[in-house]
């Protein structure tokens, strides 16, 4: 089974993805965007969140959900340090001595860590072993039709240091001013999850785990997504720049084989996704498509997808 979710969320004054600090200025990630204005195309720079940042958040939720379900997560991933068995030092914590056969290396890693099973890894030694992530996530970008209203603006803040006059010397300052560039936009992103890839070898396509363990891992992967969206715990600087706003729409498609919802940056993405699914249905593929706009809340749509997956025997 394959799950694809289109998410639209409104975020006002967020600092979810900062890219660099120069002096006292910390910058929001921005990307060039092609928009049409008065029949002419132009490039504008809009605030954005990287897929890497969203993926990191998802994997943090996956750690928690997996541990909650009593599944194995390696020590590195438990600390949300996703080294992903990148070298001998990290792999030895899972399997020692390290096997020679790439297949055995993959089996050892997948068995001992749900995060590397679902999120993939790259062991860059001899022999190199690579496993693609079972989930995919796009950048979050402003919705096309309103991209020109997206803004990134520096906010001035001051950090104070208390000093009595006796200890004040030279030009030591009592307050430091700094700027945090914040973004405001209606964002859209896509999240895909290939449930059939979980617990299955990327080298031999054979299951590495028994059916029962596979089901619990798939459920953990779904729960992590649910939790991430429901809690809005993704991105940086949440402690002081928790975005004002929230999820405005989700569109969830569950199909037998890979199918990706039309990107939510387009205003007609729900209608287009539906039409595309109808065509697939004509080719004999079963699916579930549910959206939360207006009346329904995102959690309700996601719950429907979870129930459907359970009915279909995914977990």
């Amino acid at each position: 089974m394959f799950l694809s979710v289109g998410v639209r969320f409104e975020a006002n004054v967020e600092a979810l993805n900062m890219v660099e600090t120069a002096g006292n200025y910390s910058k929001h990630r921005r990307v060039p965007y092609l928009v049409e204005e008065d029949g002419k195309l132009k490039t504008v720079y809009v605030p954005a969140l990287s897929g890497e940042s969203l993926a990191h958040a998802y994997q943090e939720h996956l750690v928690r959900e997996a541990l909650g379900l009593g599944l194995s997560v390696c020590d590195d991933c438990r600390r949300n340090e996703f080294y992903k068995s990148m070298n001998k030092v990290h792999l030895k914590k899972k399997v020692n001595p390290i096997p020679d056969d790439p297949r055995d290396i993959e089996i050892a890693i997948v068995r001992s860590c749900v995060v590397e099973d679902v999120g993939g890894f790259l062991y860059a030694e001899k022999p190199p072993v690579r496993r693609s992530s079972a989930f995919q996530v796009s950048y979050a970008l402003p919705v096309k039709s309103v991209a020109l209203f997206a803004t990134s603006e520096p906010q001035l803040h001051a950090r104070h240091a208390q000093m009595d006059t006796s200890s004040k010397k030279g030009n030591a300052s009592e307050q430091m001013i700094y700027y945090v560039e914040t973004g405001t936009a209606l964002y859209g992103f896509t999240f895909n999850l290939d449930l059939d890839a979980i617990g299955v070898s990327a080298i031999t396509s054979e299951p590495i785990l028994d059916e029962n363990e596979l089901k619990i891992r798939r459920e953990a992967a779904m729960r992590a997504l649910f939790r991430m969206l429901s809690s809005a715990q993704f991105g940086a600087k949440l402690s002081r720049f928790f975005p004002v706003g929230g999820i405005t729409e989700v569109a969830v498609a569950v199909t037998e084989h890979p199918f990706v919802v039309t990107s939510p940056i387009y205003d007609d993405y729900i209608a287009r996704t539906e039409r595309r699914l109808k065509v697939l249905e004509g080719l004999g593929e079963n699916y579930l498509f549910t959206v939360a706009t207006g009346e329904k809340v995102p959690e309700e749509a996601l719950k429907e997808a979870v129930d459907y997956l359970r009915e279909q025997g995914a977990f």
């Binding site: 660099e20 120069a22 002096g23 006292n24 200025y25 910058k27 060039p32 132009k42 490039t43 504008v44 720079y45």
Partner: protein
């Protein structure tokens, strides 16, 4: 290209700081907008860095990176920026040449720091 010396020096400073973002974006730009936006961002960052940079005995500003002292050049003049942006509008190749120069080793010993 000597008319854009200030911009080249500023971009070269970022390269020495292992921050290739600005020079890459200017060098890879296919149209003038990204050059203008990137130059704005680079100047903004450069001013922030420069203002907080310490001054050495000879009065030059520098930044320490991996134990090495990297001199902070002067801020490009308004006139130079204006000419550069005008030239980029008529020929985007100008941006690529400036970025390429910034990536090269300077031909003569640069004074760096404050003039």
């Amino acid at each position: 290209m000597s008319e854009y010396e200030g911009i080249v020096k500023m971009l070269r400073f970022f390269v020495q700081m292992k921050n290739f973002g600005y020079v890459d974006r200017i060098g890879n730009a296919l149209n003038p907008e990204p050059v203008e936006v990137t130059l704005h961002e680079a100047l903004r960052a450069f001013r922030s860095v420069r203002e907080s940079a310490p001054v050495d005995e000879s009065g030059r500003r520098y930044v320490e990176k991996d134990g090495k002292k990297i001199p902070v050049p002067g801020i490009p003049t308004e006139e130079e920026i204006r000419t550069f942006l005008d030239d980029v509008r008529s020929d985007i190749g100008v941006a690529k040449r400036v970025a390429t120069l910034a990536l090269a080793y300077p031909s003569k010993k640069e004074s760096g720091g404050d003039e």
